[in-house]
């Protein structure tokens, strides 16, 4: 597929066959066709992916509002130094990392357990698989709406259940210590089915001989699980960790709909903070600087994943 290869084979055929001109013309026609067929995709890609990247980099060194972008003022790196000087950015990134960490820590074991369950020969597998996938195909808006009522301090279903086991009403979203855990619980509920089908695909891709051989050698089920299955799935696990992390870093609807970032910024997720800075506070330059940092974090995570996957770290 490399360009130089194509070119050298092209000239080689034209020299060898002697009838160079028609072949080249046909090739040129092919190239023009390829360009035409690629053009719509590439043009949109450049406009909507690469152009915003440039605009973002440029805007991060300006002070301006989206209401009047023409009045932009060059401020150098001040947006970035502001980020260090004021605590809002550090708090918001901190909250977001805690959120992502919480989601990953709970999604991985629960999703893995569900996948083991779905991979066994137990009854009602199909039903369970459908059930755990429902939240995955439900929009984040509906999930957030549903959960803000589930978590309601006085009339919520969760407090209704807690009352049965003798626990009094909990404030959940209005408490600084309970709001973020509540959002983590909701996101785990929403994403665990996705993690489970990824693990399930990994489990089904494992060669059955390996676990069978271990069983014949006298290993118990538990030993096979810990010493064969889990190490063999390390690539899948890494994949799920990265997907869940990148997804959590970009969560928006929970903060926007359920807590408005509060109480006391305890759920001020970074994408919500960017949205607020740009569209409510009208500090688009500062929002761009925050976006640059978020982009770099996400890129670093993706790069680390690729580096790990490419390394010899394989069983």
């Amino acid at each position: 597929m490399s360009a130089t290869n194509t070119l050298s084979t092209a000239s080689a055929t034209s020299v060898k066959s002697g009838t160079g001109k028609p072949a080249t013309r046909r090739q040129k026609r092919d190239w023009i066709f390829a360009a035409g067929f690629l053009a719509p995709f590439m043009i949109l890609l450049l406009i909507f992916q690469y152009l915003p990247l440039l605009v973002m980099a440029r805007n991060s060194v300006y002070d301006y509002s989206l209401l009047n972008p023409a009045a932009a003022k060059f401020v150098g790196l001040r947006n970035f130094t502001d980020m260090i000087e004021y605590e809002d950015a550090a708090v918001s990134f901190g909250v977001t990392f805690l959120f992502a960490l919480g989601v990953v820590l709970f999604v991985i074991p629960v999703a893995f357990a569900l996948a083991l369950f779905l991979n066994s020969k137990l009854p009602a597998r199909g039903l369970v698989r459908t059930m755990i996938m429902l939240p995955v195909v439900t929009s984040s808006v509906v999930v957030a709406t549903m959960w803000s009522f589930l978590l309601d301090p006085s009339n919520g279903l969760i407090n209704g259940v807690l009352n049965i086991v003798g626990i009094g009403n909990q404030p959940f979203l209005t408490s600084t210590s309970q709001a973020l855990p509540a959002l983590i619980a909701m996101t785990v509920w929403q994403q665990v089915g996705f993690g489970a089908i990824l693990f399930l695909a990994g489990l089904q891709g494992l060669p059955a001989e390996l676990t069978e051989a271990a069983r014949i050698d006298g290993a118990t089920r538990r030993q096979v699980l810990w010493n064969v299955t889990i190490p063999l799935l390390s690539r899948t696990t890494l994949f799920v960790v990265v997907i869940m992390t990148v997804f959590s870093l970009q969560a928006f609807a929970p903060a926007f709909l359920m807590t408005q970032g509060g109480p006391q910024e305890s759920t001020n997720l970074i994408v919500y903070h960017i949205y607020n800075s740009a569209f409510i506070m009208q500090q688009a330059g500062y929002a761009s600087a925050l976006s640059v940092v978020l982009l770099l974090v996400v890129l670093a995570i993706s790069m680390a994943q690729m580096a790990l996957l490419r390394s010899r770290w394989n069983y």
């Binding site: 092919d30 390829a34 995709f41 973002m56 429902l134 195909v137 808006v141 279903l157």
Partner: protein, 281 residues
Amino acid sequence: MKTHPLRRGLFVTLVIALILCCFLAPYAWIVSSSFKNRLTLFDDVTPLSWKAFFPVGATTDNYQTLFERTNVLTALLNTAIVSGGQVALTLLLCAMAAYSLTRIRFPGAKIVFVLILLTFLLPIEAMMVPLYQVVSGLGLSNTLLGVMIPWVASPFGLFLLKQAFEELPVELEDAARIDGAGHVRVFFSIVLPNVKVPMLTLGLITFLFSWNSFLWPLVIVQDPANQVIQVAIAQQGSPTQLPNWGETFAGATVATLPLILLFLLLQKYFTQGMTTSGIKG
């Protein structure tokens, strides 16, 4: 280490029941509450009774007010247009690009591919501020086209189709090529009919992504006439402003039902699409 089969059976049943409760109960509560009036709705929750999950004394009042007094119907229509358009354009553009990259050798193919590969890593929705400026600079703010157009050139879609095209044997087209068929004919009458399943998978994933998208339409559309369903129900459904839970639940039900039905019908393809590349967004 051997457990008694009866005890094991009991344990498994309990686990299944717990999973079903966790994942089904919230939906049952939302849907049944959407058919209740505002008085009976709370009575069933504290203290909790089985009535919370079944619409005893059902009424469709909430749905009537929802459709008569809010823009939910318009929003549903707008969302159908956006999702349909996004699916059609994504399939067409990704298939055309995948055809060029897999069937024609041309100079610069590698650079093009790397350019596409790199965008796979961009958290593009988190770049809403510059994207907002680009799209409104093109005069597309407050339009349905502006809601869908940034996502049409999907690197995920390209990879999915490129993989499918590569698996298709070239011999299929060779005969047609010898008979003098051009690329356009080969593309439409030979390649496309043979990649129906990947196309369906990509179509479904795109539809899911488009139907559920929230942040971007929230940012780019302010005009209520061009609002999509997720933003419409988000704006009427905040518990701090709206006293009527029933109506909010009705909105959530209406916004979710089409996708759930589609999912139940075509679950296999959904799952396939999600596991192949790890859905983005």
